[in-house]
């Protein structure tokens, strides 16, 4: 992770001196075995395509532990992040996969004559946002926040594989709980839900103060 950041912010390197040291230390540990394993992992990643590969799967295939595989992935990711590469290794959720870089998109659009782009409606985005931030969450809770029926939208999102049923709430009627899927994490480039941008605050402190005054 640190290494990625370094590459992205190479210009203001002074802040990252400490990390640079780390990186150099690691570089020394790249022995032939490591490089070989990394190349095999790269091959696996190529084969798995859009299915991607998880740490666990890779560790099993390479007959090593996940910690080691993570180092291999770090190494490969760093390599592909260089400007002279057109693909990158992205990790969303638990899965690593090869993706063409965003910088390829314009040329790809011309090559494949892509005119349409996938879009999510505002309603879909809001519903997904609510689920992602509050999961697991029931339909009624979502409807309360949006003030609109969510039944059809939930079915659509489920059909698109962006959300899944995730058990039932203990509330009366045992309503179904919804959570986002790995695919959803992929769609929003999230490693985990902790990476969601912080919800904007609209200062309801003031409101609470008012409350006190009323009382």
């Amino acid at each position: 992770m640190n290494e990625e950041e370094i590459l992205e912010t190479e210009d203001n390197a002074s802040v990252l001196d400490a990390d640079y040291d780390d990186e150099e230390d690691e570089e020394e540990t790249y022995d032939d075995g490591f490089i070989h394993m990394a190349s095999v992992l790269e091959g696996l990643l190529f084969l798995t395509g859009d299915e991607g590969i998880t740490l666990e799967q890779a560790a099993n295939a390479l007959e090593t532990d996940e910690e080691y595989v993570e180092k291999l992935f770090d190494y490969l990711q760093k390599y592909y992040l260089q400007d002279n590469r057109g693909i990158e290794i992205a990790r969303y959720g638990l899965t690593y996969r090869f993706l063409s870089k965003a910088s390829v998109h314009e040329a790809a659009k011309r090559l494949f004559q892509i005119t349409k782009t996938n879009k999510l409606s505002q309603a879909a985005l809001e519903t997904l946002a609510i689920i992602a931030y509050k999961q697991p969450i029931t339909r009624v809770e979502i409807e309360e926040i949006r003030g609109v029926g969510a039944d059809v939208m939930l079915r659509k999102l489920e059909a698109r594989g962006l959300i899944k049923e995730d058990g039932r709430s203990d509330a009366p009627g045992r309503p179904i709980l919804y959570s986002v899927t790995e695919e959803c994490m992929d769609a929003f480039q999230l490693l985990s839900l902790d990476e969601l941008p912080e919800l904007p605050q609209f200062d309801d402190n003031e409101e609470e103060n008012n409350d006190l005054f009323v009382q």
């Binding site: 859009d50 390829v104 505002q122 309603a123 809001e126 904007p200 309801d204």
Partner: protein, 243 residues
């Protein structure tokens, strides 16, 4: 007065419309004047109506709430009652809802940026060659649906033989969903691999049998169960990943 009209479709529900009105009329959300908001809201819906646009029920529900609040406020000397009657002041509640909705509306904008960025990156399907090997490997394990049907028939025959034929029976209505829950409960007590018959012990009649079969198919679809059939046409199940 109305310089431009926006279709109600442009709004994602009544809260979205209220936020729009608050912004347009420069109302202070924290010190929301519900009277002004109510008037604006009603005026907006009315203008929709004159355009013969259908107004979704949700908008009307919120309108009713707004009017109720406003009318209560207009009854003199009734002010205290409003506060004591509700657990939460409806005005505070509305502000809270608007604030919360606004949060997610804004969050969805940044999510959209992430989504669009991700759309620019593309991937390729799993290696076809690798997939061929995978399927071959799986088939030893999973069997195909027609084999399953054949084995199922044999199962039923066996059950008929083992039970005396009753001349009268009541059809116990049971939905597949209910049965599926029962089967899931049974799974906890069963070993990792078990025979289909293990699930049939409490089946008294054919409809029940069939419902069980259907629920098992559904469980297989959800990868909660995997099935395989041996040479003697026994159906074996093994537990899969529980989603």
């Amino acid at each position: 007065m109305k310089e431009f009209k926006v279709s109600i479709d442009a709004f994602d529900g009544p809260l979205d419309l209220m936020l729009h009105l608050i912004k347009e009329k420069e109302l202070d959300l924290m010190n929301l004047d519900i009277n002004v908001l109510t008037d604006q809201y009603i005026a907006y819906l009315e203008s929709m109506e004159t355009l013969h646009l259908e107004i979704a029920g949700e908008y009307l529900v919120e309108m009713a709430t707004l009017i109720e609040y406003k009318s209560k406020r207009m009854i003199p000397g009734n002010k205290d009652e409003i506060d004591s009657e509700y657990e939460e002041d409806p005005r505070e509640r509305l502000i809270k809802r608007l604030l919360e909705y606004q949060q997610f509306k804004e969050a969805s904008a940044s999510l959209n940026a992430m989504f669009e960025e991700r759309q620019k990156m593309m991937t390729r399907p799993l290696s076809e060659e690798a997939e061929q090997f995978m399927v071959a490997e799986e088939e030893q394990y999973r069997g195909n649906p027609y084999e399953l049907m054949k084995a199922m028939r044999k199962c039923m025959m066996r059950m008929q033989l083992s039970k005396p034929i009753e001349t009268k029976y009541t059809v116990k209505e049971m939905s597949m969903e209910d049965r599926e829950l029962e089967v899931r409960a049974m799974l906890d007590k069963l070993p990792n691999t078990f025979r289909f018959e293990s699930l049939l012990e409490d089946c008294k009649d054919v409809p029940m049998f069939i419902v069980t079969f259907l629920s098992v198919l559904d469980l297989a679809r959800q990868h909660i169960l995997y099935f395989t059939i041996d040479e003697e046409e026994n159906i074996w199940f093994s537990k899969g990943v529980v989603a």
